[in-house]
Symmetry: C2
Subunit: 346 residues, 2 copies
């Protein structure tokens, strides 16, 4: 990926992020009870790249072959009439946000996007309820795009099964923490459920809404699934390879917390004593040299490169699906986003 | 309500409860990850009257004017084809169950239906996730009844807005605990959101699914809303008037925990020092005589009778809506259920 195409991706994301952010404000006003609605907005307002809604919008734009400069996302061309594409975009962002809020409770994480987690800024009850509210608001938005009813049913069904899978993935992730022998296949299945299916939904739901055929929907689902898997592997790599100040949290925290990742699972298979890599058992107490030595050991075992290669190959297989889209700028950006996911440093 | 009509209600509930319980098993199999799915089933398996799905089924049966003895709920007659009514029934029961699981976390309640709450039997993370899974399963089921797509869209939209309102109601309920001056209107609004809207959804969604007109849908929504309000007021009364052993928890626990109810709000307006009624601040330490004296004081102030009268009048206004249904056995049972909600002792 050249720095020029990186610029294209970042501009494509930035312009759509602005549209998504405006839509979040419009779709999620702070009404009574205010504390609840402020809590639903807290994490959304704290930032986020809006990658999933951006992918959703790019797929719809590509399929409809529209000019991004003039298109109206609120009256977006679709089979049988116009749809409100931003409602679908807000819907997937709401699901993403609800899972982050509930995950932070389960993982007892204090920080998210450089700010206190919702259950720290507010309290446990408010955080559970804010997540639950975003959950229903996501369905309210998805059922209300104005798409043909059979298309809306299709989109809602996909959103609901996606949410079920996300819960299954989070459950597996928690189980893995207390299990020694996790295989890389099991890990990748967990990543598929916890992370990748929401990318798959984000890439395929717009195709369902505008009226694409089943082959197109399936190919786009495959694109999302593969780049979503790659995204999570890259997330695991960033935890090991990026300095703490750039990462916004302690580098190597996954090692300190004995979190299983593709890197550590590979290293274990290579005979590395993964549990003994970092002796310190608190993120606050660990020092940079201990992490550095552990990462060196993982690098020597080939585990960093193994994970990197796996992410690369997933990005390639994901991009192979984009042939179902018309040859236009948005399709190119979707390919660039796939590359970007494994080249990003934050 | 005669004891004969009480028998009719209890038999009507019992036969449909059996169908709902079988459907819950079928719609929510324990698959991988097993611990998660066991947790989603734990509270459902612990019992429950299945009042909401029963109301849903009775409304559909009444509108379709079918014979309960021979009807197939999985191929239920509707406009434009047959629908799977049990999916809709399971959907509302799943929503009810998810809210109980999350509420018990927020209220830090140890027991539910005489068994440990899910976050006690399992753990906090599993309980949050079990609720989240029931949430998505509810939407999976509701979108999948096989109703005409525009009808499904309508039902899903109503389910989603209902969930949002339930979250708002729970948020208000929590806020009230730390507020002195709550008016009876504010209390009744909270009850409407937290409890009554799910009754309203249960009574009106079947009308949406089978293809009833808007006036019928609206009237049935009104029926559910009024009897749902009455149900909650009765719940508050039971806490004061039923012996602990029959109640399955300490009688008067709402007084110990300073929970605002229609009874205490009325008493406060009459000048009763409600906060001083029960000095003991722990449910485990309170004794029966202290509760008895407090309840006597509330009775003298007319507050018990005030709440009872309010519940009665809501049941009457709720029943007035049933005129939109054909004159059949199921309509009579729906009227009897309304009476039953305020005459039940558990």
């Amino acid at each position: 990926m050249t720095s020029q195409s990186q610029d294209v991706v970042e501009r494509a994301i930035a312009s759509r992020r602005e549209a998504v952010n405006e839509a979040v404000l419009a779709e999620l006003p702070v009404v009574e009870p205010e504390r609840l609605y402020e809590a639903t907005r807290y994490l959304l307002d704290a930032g986020g790249k809006r990658l999933r809604p951006t992918i959703l919008m790019l797929v719809a734009e590509s399929l409809a072959d529209v000019d991004a400069a003039t298109v109206n996302y609120r009256s977006f061309p679709a089979e049988g009439g116009e749809i409100d594409l931003l409602k679908a975009a807000v819907s997937v962002e709401n699901i993403q946000t609800f899972t982050l809020i509930h995950d932070d409770i389960m993982d007892d994480d204090d920080l998210r996007r450089g700010a206190p987690a919702v259950h720290r800024e507010y309290d446990l009850s408010t955080a559970i309820l804010a997540g639950d509210t975003l959950y229903s608001k996501a369905f309210e938005a998805m059922v209300d795009t104005g798409a043909a009813p059979d298309r809306s049913v299709d989109a809602v069904r996909n959103l609901a099964t996606t949410c079920t899978k996300i819960c299954e993935g989070q459950s597996l992730d928690i189980d893995f923490e207390s299990r020694d022998a996790v295989t890389t296949d099991e890990y990748l299945e967990m990543v598929e459920l916890k992370t990748a299916v929401l990318y798959a939904a984000s890439a395929s739901i717009p195709a369902r809404l505008v009226g694409a055929d089943d082959d197109t929907v399936d190919a786009l689902y495959g694109y999302g699934l593969d780049i979503g898997r790659a995204f999570q592997i890259q997330d695991d790599l960033l935890d090991l390879t990026i300095p703490s100040d750039k990462l916004g949290k302690q580098r190597g925290s996954d090692l300190v917390e004995n979190k299983q990742t593709l890197v550590t699972l590979h290293a274990r298979q290579q005979g590395v004593d993964v549990d003994g890599l970092v002796e310190t058992d608190s993120v606050d107490a660990v020092d940079e040299r201990e992490i550095e030595a552990a990462v060196d050991r993982l690098r020597e075992a080939g585990s960093i490169e193994f994970a990197r290669e796996r992410a690369r190959s997933l990005v390639e297989s994901g991009k192979d699906n984009l042939g179902v889209l018309p040859d236009n700028e948005q399709r190119d950006v979707l390919a660039d986003i796939a590359d970007y996911l494994i080249e990003r440093e934050y």
